[in-house]
Amino acid sequence: MNQNPTSQTSYESDNYVTINIGPSHPSMHGTLRIITMTDGETIVKAEPDIGYLHRGVEKLGESLTYHQFIPITDRLNYCSAIPNNVSYEMAVEKLMGVEVPEKAQLIRVIMMELARIADHQVCIGILGVDLGAFTPFFYLIIQREEIYEIFEWFNGARLTNTFGRIGGVDADLPDDFEERWEELKPNVRKANDETEKLLTHNRIWMDRTIGISAFSAEDALNRGFTGPCLRACGVKRDLRIDEPYCMYDKFKFEVPVGKNGDVFDRYIVRMIEMEESLKIIDQAYKLYKEMPSDAPLMARVPKVIKPPAGEVYSALESPNGELGFFVKSNGSANPYRIRIRPPCYMMFQALPELVKGEMVADLIACISSLNIIAGELDR
């Protein structure tokens, strides 16, 4: 029953060279592996092979309680743990029919948008590094460090935040958030400006990114693209606007849309999204300040979470795209089945089409621009 049902893809050829890129390779973002067949440096065939970071997260969830699973979600997209936490919490809250207090929602929005900025900063920085431009990476990563400082000072962890609880958040924003935020904001903008100056109109950068791994909107939808990569293809789809959650309908922000769906568009979309995120945080913090200081942070949820039997799917717009959790409960204290819908999973499977006929160097650019995070890819 365990035999391989399909023929093994053949990599034997007299005319082509098979190069095994990864799982241990400087630009394989963790443990990705791609088997490429190249004609000189042109890729004839590329096949991703994933699972090197598979930790059985979905299986683990079945034997943990609902709250115990929150730290596990940190380990999915480790570049931005907070949207993972919130997405999972939202799914369980939906299953229980719990309404989260507005103040908690605002705190979630602020933290998620900070995480989005941090994620995009890493993504763009790494894209630069993979294309040989080291310096923007440091400009961006220094600012990400500042964002991590805020995370750390908010809940004690930098990378794996374990943010929030089912039913709300556990702690209020500290008093001097405004101070730190006002200090951070111009620095983030400045780093972005410097990155733009170094990259956007750089002739080499344009040559390396424009038209590389372009994808049409139709193909992207067929392949299940979401998030910045789908928007780069010209589809205006953002769950924050299309299926608002966490009071996102109260904020005014633009959704940037690209045209060609190439590496350059993905880069530009992310750059603009960071700016929009800054605006959202400003608006959210303004709303937050209008709330009474003793407003509740947690909905009334029992100590032991036992949602009624049922199954729900809840998704939010994570920095990478639609991050969804399907939670099925049988009424006990452990989830019966948790399914995670990671955004980059759908995008990475399109890799063979994205890089066919491109060169090895473009393959690297393509992977970085899709922002493949092995943690959420393999789960």
């Binding site: 060279v17 190069i19 390779h25 400087p26 630009s27 440096e41 630069g128 590094v129 993979d130 294309l131 040989g132 431009a133 080291f134 310096t135 440091f138 400009y139 220094i142 170094l198 990259l199 750089n202 080499i204 950068w205 040559d207 390396r208 060169m359 090895v360 160097a361 473009d362 690297i364």
Partner: protein, 346 residues
């Protein structure tokens, strides 16, 4: 006998000197990266991290030498040697100052003033590619081979515009000797411009510096060792001092290239507008000319670092395209213009 002694002293001195610059360059590169990237850079070993190269050297020397089992041993060992030897010997014809008079004897500050200086540099420079291709091939690693291939194609392609740019210089000065060219750059022409190569060959200078960056495998032409694509290119499988030789050879190449740029295009040891040699004694002029030359070289060394931390990397086919479709036609055009000009004026 004296001549022999002087020659040996000069060889040893310049060898140590170039080595020293290369060592300091490894430090400058990393501190420069820190300066450009808002971070300290290496700052633990000694004041401002100055002993970092020393620590690196000790590390490289004391590391275990590993030869991959499947490597072709002879080629594998030969690679780094073939790469670094030409790098060390190319500086022999590059001047590092005017001349110094000691005990009534005139000593030119150049290891040897060969009358085919250029050709020597081009010939020795292209030897380096053997080290790269042999190392890449001998490692029996696909990434190494890719790196070696990229390097070969790149070096062979860019030697053409490099040679053509130099040819135009020969037209202008009528000699192959670097010392003669240096001497000819004194004074001004058209009344206000220093008599430097860059003002006589502006296009040639741009072509030369682009081709030189490509020859030195520096960003934006660092494809042979593009870390994100082919791990480390031709030296993926190398460790310990063999790797050290490759890395070191590269820095020595930078010194040579900077020296050539200064000697050909930036007036060598001459200050613009002022002829210091007329005011200073023979010994002090020797030292001052050396300092001026070295200052100019340092600027170009810094430019290598500066460019490296500013630009992204080209793609393989783009490098080839730039070389064959951009630089070579331009270089031919440059030669044509230069020849026409000389024909009409002389």
């Amino acid at each position: 006998m004296d001549d022999w002694l002087i020659a040996i002293i000069k060889v040893v001195c310049i060898w140590v000197w170039v080595l020293l610059i290369a060592v300091v360059m490894t430090w400058v590169e990393r501190r420069g990266a820190g300066l450009i990237q808002d971070r300290p850079g290496p700052n633990r070993a000694g004041p401002w991290g100055l002993f970092q190269p020393l620590a690196d050297g000790i590390k490289l020397f004391t590391k275990e030498e590993i030869i991959p089992t499947k490597a072709r041993k002879i080629l594998y060992i030969l690679g780094p040697l073939l790469f670094s030897l030409p790098a060390f010997s190319a500086y022999a014809v590059v001047p590092f100052g005017d001349k110094i008079i000691l005990g009534g004897k005139e000593i030119i500050l150049q290891v040897s003033d060969v009358n085919i200086g250029f050709l020597f540099i081009l010939a020795i420079g292209s030897m380096g590619v053997y080290g790269v291709i042999l190392g890449g091939w001998g490692s029996t690693n696909k990434y190494s081979i890719l790196g070696g291939l990229r390097s070969t194609a790149q070096m062979v392609s860019y030697e053409v515009p490099l040679g053509l740019a130099l040819l135009a210089i020969v037209f202008v000065y009528g000699t192959f000797s670097l010392r003669d060219i240096s001497l000819a750059q004194q004074g001004t022409f058209l009344g206000f411009l220093p008599n430097w190569g860059i003002f006589k060959q502006p296009l040639g200078f741009i072509l030369f510096i682009v081709a030189a960056y490509a020859e030195a495998n520096r960003v934006p032409f660092d494809l042979p060792e593009a870390e994100s694509e082919i791990v480390s290119g031709y030296h993926t499988e190398y460790g310990s001092m063999r790797l050290g030789l490759y890395l070191f050879g590269e820095y020595v190449n930078l010194v040579t290239i900077s020296g050539v740029i200064v000697a050909l295009y930036f007036g060598s040891w001459h200050m613009p507008y002022i002829d210091l040699g007329a005011y200073l004694g023979p010994i002090s002029w020797g030292i001052v000319s050396f300092c001026i030359f070295f200052l100019k070289v340092s600027f170009f060394l810094w430019m290598f670092v500066w460019v490296r931390w500013t630009l992204p990397r080209f793609r393989y086919d783009q490098v080839m395209g730039l070389g064959w479709r951009g630089l070579i036609p331009l270089a031919l055009f440059n030669i044509f213009i230069t020849a026409l000009f000389i024909q009409l004026t002389v």
